[in-house]
Symmetry: C2
Subunit: 341 residues, 2 copies
């Protein structure tokens, strides 16, 4: 192990340049109040000494951590195949990195921990703001953070009064289009494999499916919780495909469960899409790599992340930014959906 060297601080720079610390700071930060000649001198001394400001000192002084927090509640093992995660973070990074912010990422396994982590990040002022993702009905984080007056931004929160700025992408239109398309392909029994019902986005997809079914004059009856996992999708296939009222088409609340459903249905001896059409939601890349390729509703997690980061940073700056609504998710038809025969 190498041994750490002495850090060079702004004090060293000031001493070496023969100015006061305050002048060195002023010069380096490009603020007025110092002559061009001294500014140049300070700058060259700083770079000669290899001076890099301490994030710690700056954070304390500026009352800013220059970082934002994201807590993902996911089983460690499921995390690997999680679709939303990577692209969403990519979008966040894209926005915050050029602005000198860093993402503090935490993973938790259960939901009480999730709340605790958010509050710990906020109260200790480790971060300047947090993302509220995968919001639940009656989410404890929301009230607590609002009470703290801590900057936050919601990703697809329920409509209604939400105390923070929010970024939304609607999937409703695409779900309607999917159901309409299936109906036009002669499907009558269209089941839904839902996500865990405590999530706001699960509920929204369920009710979008319900409304869409009614809109084409079909009965929305069969829904099974697929838990957003491929195993859940497999179990749903067991239930639905061996049950009395076997569906001819299935809309799954995410791609993972759709892939699970599809594979299990095939194992059970059904052909996709000849015997049963399957569609997912999210638009993960892997949907193109399974066979048949997966029809889906493609969302834009990266864009969502970028917008969420934009809103969060402006909330941190105390700006009143309007909610952001990005273009609705789009239906992507692939081989897993076909006319009923």
């Amino acid at each position: 192990m190498p041994t750490p060297r002495e850090r060079v601080t702004i004090i060293d720079v000031a001493r070496e340049a023969g100015v006061a610390i305050s002048s060195a700071s002023t010069a380096l930060n490009g603020q007025p109040g110092v002559s061009e000649s001294t500014r140049d001198r300070v700058r060259s001394v700083a770079s000669a000494l290899g001076y890099v400001p301490s994030a710690r000192g700056r954070a304390l002084s500026a009352k800013r951590a220059y970082s934002v927090g994201l807590v993902v509640e996911r089983d460690f093992d499921i995390l690997e195949s999680d679709p939303f995660f990577g692209a969403f973070i990519g979008g966040i990074e894209e926005y915050i990195a050029p602005r000198g912010y860093v993402l503090a990422l935490q993973i938790t396994q259960d939901s009480t921990l999730t709340v605790d982590r958010h509050l710990a990040l906020a109260r200790s002022r480790r971060v300047d703001g947090v993302f509220l993702n995968e919001i639940k009905a009656d989410d404890a984080r929301v009230a607590e953070l609002a009470e703290l007056g801590f900057p936050a931004v919601g990703i697809n929160p329920a409509v209604g009064d939400f105390p923070f700025p929010a970024v939304r992408q609607s999937g409703t239109e695409a779900i309607h289009e999917l159901v309409r398309t299936l109906a036009e392909l002669d499907h009558r029994r269209i089941a839904h494999v839902s996500g865990p019902p405590h999530y706001v986005h699960s509920l929204e997809r369920i009710s979008a499916w319900r409304e869409a079914m009614e809109a084409v004059g079909l009965q929305a009856e069969d829904t099974v919780n697929g838990g957003f996992t491929s195993d859940g999708g497999r179990r749903a296939a067991d239930v639905l495909m061996t049950g009395e009222r076997r569906p001819t088409a299935v809309f799954c609340a995410n791609d993972l469960s759709a892939i699970g459903f599809m594979n299990r249905a095939i194992e059970l001896g059904f052909r996709v899409p000849e015997d049963v059409s399957v569609a997912g939601f999210d638009g993960i890349n892997f949907g193109e790599h399974v066979r048949p390729t997966l029809s889906t509703v493609r969302t834009a997690p990266r864009h969502l992340g970028r917008e969420a980061a934009r809103l969060l940073l402006s909330a941190i700056d105390g700006d009143e930014a309007a909610d952001s609504t990005i273009a609705p998710a789009r239906l992507v038809l692939r081989d897993s959906v076909a006319r009923l025969r």
Copy 2:
């Protein structure tokens, strides 16, 4: 937007409890030098006031940021389907979270930026240590960070002198076993779809394949760079399957490229595994969801992350920890590999 409230600091706690700041600190941190009665009093005052120590103040004073850095160099769009990423981070979290550390995650698009980010994190002391992942031959980060004397830990660095502690999982044995298995299944032309050759782990897989081929008396000739992406795997299929010396089995350097290869081969009219056997590397969950299910070499990214975090934190504490070697990756045979016919 809610308005922030006044923060309660240790000064408030001390005043309210009628002790000096230093005593309050001592009491709260459970250190000796304060009577049990005052300790209790300070503690109850602190909790009554809702005191939470400021991470910023503590960081400055303790010369510790209590965070570690991970920079992932990945295209924003590829990130989504990245296998290693999620599980590795899960492993890191698992170790650092209970110890009060937070992960600072950055994503970059190109490799000069990657180096810059590492150095910026280190020099500004935003983090206390960094993970060196996906190390390249002659990786610029290594020398620079070593020069700084900054704590770091290498994930599967090249053997030889590496200035930091390292955690390793070997895939060599499993690659040997794979090639041996393929040879026993009568395959003679076993090609390799490699990763980008500037990565240490690409090179290691290439030479493991080479050695394994020689060990069973076969010629290691055909290798195509699949770039660790599914598109790269598809292009490799185009090259190999339509070329003169068509292989009967292919070992791909990761599962993503293996899936791409497999799908493209099928598109080209070949049957897997009847016409060509395919195996990947990594052991991502999706390998079980494609058809035929993918044979692979299963690594343990979560375990790797956990061990890397352990080494990094002990390096930060100045402890001299021995390198960590976790159990070798294991061959997992699934439907994509079969006897040549």
